[in-house]
């Protein structure tokens, strides 16, 4: 696959996953009301694809449609070269919904046994996941005794019971504290070495940290589908914080303590620093001000 993920799949990338995910003019929604409106894309390169968009844009609807839970009103969804809905297509993907999906009335280990039964994983897989997600110490607790973060960790644990080719992860780090969220992200990053991971998040910095591609959905349509690094260069604004006022920055726009300057990209920062130093500006800090992904939410 070429860098443009929407490029033709006529000449597949040697590292691609056969079939991948293919959406063709998919419209889908709830009770006859379309939320997704004619979305098309092809994905076959193993990577993390961050799905972004404002609330109600259709992110969860997209995940549910790809998982085969919502049947498209029109268009087609193919997974692994097979139409979604067939058992063989479902077996190639794992879906983690934004809801915890934890059955009430069980202990932690019993919950994992429940998931293992559904996913045809073995007791050994349950033991491995208890250690991987560091939930063995709470294995005998009832769910009512767990914090929201522990529940989320348990919910995410099922992602690692069985190896799949495609992972649909809808807000997998919601309710997790920063340390736990980072640990989950690292596990997911490990997954993405040879898998396709669609990952939705409201956390733009997380999205930037983990993603290689961005799918931005707005009003049920695919707004942007590009490499994250291409978005980074689209609008790169740095803020310069100085030790003392300088006439050299008098006509620069300000945001708080920072004087703003739009650059072509991170590679232009050294030249800016040299220029400011030559004009005797005492620099305290230079940092990137805008996360370009913010624009995708507006």
């Amino acid at each position: 696959m070429a860098d443009d993920p929407r490029a033709s799949r006529a000449a597949p990338d040697p590292g691609s996953i056969e079939g991948g995910i293919s959406c063709r003019s998919v419209s889908s929604g709830y009770l006859g009301k379309a939320v997704l409106k004619g979305i098309s894309f092809d994905i076959d390169r193993p990577a993390i694809y961050v799905v972004l968009g404002p609330n109600g844009a259709g992110k969860t609807t997209l995940f549910r449609t790809l998982a085969g839970i919502l049947r498209p009103y029109s268009g087609e969804v193919w997974v692994g070269g097979e139409r979604i809905g067939l058992r063989s297509a479902r077996n190639r993907l794992h879906y983690l919904s934004h809801m915890d999906g934890i059955p009430d009335g069980l202990r932690v280990r019993e919950t994992l046994d429940f998931y293992a039964r559904v996913e045809r994983a073995s007791p050994a897989d349950v033991d491995r996941v208890l250690d991987l997600l560091e939930i063995r110490p709470i294995a005998d607790r009832f769910l009512t005794a767990l914090s929201a973060g522990q529940k989320k960790r348990l919910s995410v644990a099922r992602t690692f019971l069985r190896e799949r080719e495609i992972y649909l992860l809808d807000e997998p780090t919601t309710n997790l504290d920063p340390k736990a969220a980072r640990e989950i992200r690292e596990l997911i990053l490990g997954l993405s070495q040879n898998k396709i991971v669609l990952y939705s998040s409201h956390n733009l910095f997380e999205a930037r940290e983990i993603g290689q591609y961005v799918l931005a959905i707005k009003s049920g349509q695919l707004g942007v589908f590009d490499r994250l690094e291409n978005l980074r260069t689209a609008r790169y604004v740095v803020g310069v914080r100085v030790l003392e006022a300088s006439a050299a920055l008098a006509d620069w726009p300000r945001e708080g303590d920072y004087f703003l300057r739009e650059l072509a990209g991170p590679e232009a920062v050294p030249a800016l620093l040299r220029d400011l130093e030559s004009r005797d500006v005492k620099i305290r800090e230079v940092r990137e001000m805008n996360n370009p992904l913010e624009e995708l939410f507006t």
Binding site: N91, H98, P103, G105
Partner: protein
């Protein structure tokens, strides 16, 4: 890839969860049934023989609500969504919960009947042929038909409504729905007995069949009547 193995059954785990979530309902049903069996069982006369089989469906409906609680909880918490993503059909999810409801009913029928018979035989009274006849012709069939009706209608209702808690929720109101078939049947029997000479079996038998057919029809049509999105958490 997965080998083409048989679909996993979730009945055992659903029953266990129903026992945990619905333990107060089960306990209430058992207490009513056992107290009733003790009081009438120790009383001389035909009271136990005639009343126990008629009231058994009411106790069983109360006891089986744990299964409906599992369904309601699973819908709200996204468990149904998870199972749908793994290819479980809505009918299969419904049947799984319904069977769990039947298991709870079996527990109630077993315990209360054992207590009742124990009291009757322990007190040297035994039971009459009327008891056996009513239990087999009406009590047991109507018990499972009513439980099936309460649980199935409750699942439909839960799927079609926004999550509510307490007595105003489908789970809170399902026992009232569930006791309607035996109650209406008994009223009908009483009315017809007073106005005609129609035997009890000719009213009770068709009533059981009608309720059972309604349950079967609702189960058969669930994929058509309930779009999958109805089973997703509305939150």
């Amino acid at each position: 890839m997965d080998p083409p193995t048989k679909d996993p059954t979730l009945l055992g785990i659903t029953v266990r969860r129903s026992l945990v979530l619905g333990r107060m309902f089960l306990l209430a049903g058992l207490i009513y049934a056992v107290v009733f069996s003790l009081v009438l069982g120790l009383t001389a006369g035909p009271g136990f023989d005639e009343a126990f089989p008629l009231l058994l469906p009411v106790f069983a409906v109360i006891a089986s609500m744990g299964a409906l609680m599992v369904f309601s909880s699973d819908r709200i918490k996204g468990v149904l969504e998870y199972l749908l993503a793994y290819g479980f059909s809505s009918r299969r999810l419904f049947v799984n919960v319904l069977l769990a409801g039947f298991v709870l009913a079996v527990i109630l029928v077993g315990v209360s009947t054992a207590v009742g018979l124990g009291v009757r035989f322990g007190s040297g009274q035994g039971v009459s042929a009327v008891f056996v006849e009513l239990l087999l012709a009406y009590g047991l069939p109507m018990t499972f038909a009513s439980v099936g009706f309460a649980v199935t209608v409750g699942m439909y209702w839960t799927s079609l409504s926004s999550p509510r808690s307490g007595i105003n929720s489908p789970v809170g109101l399902a026992p009232i729905v569930g006791i309607a078939p035996p109650l209406i049947t008994l009223v009908l029997v009483g009315f017809l007995a007073a106005t005609t000479s129609l035997p009890f079996e000719l009213v009770a038998g068709p009533a059981v069949v009608v309720v059972a057919l309604v349950v079967l029809a609702l189960l058969a049509q669930v994929d058509r009547l309930l779009p999958l999105e109805r089973l997703l958490s509305p939150t």
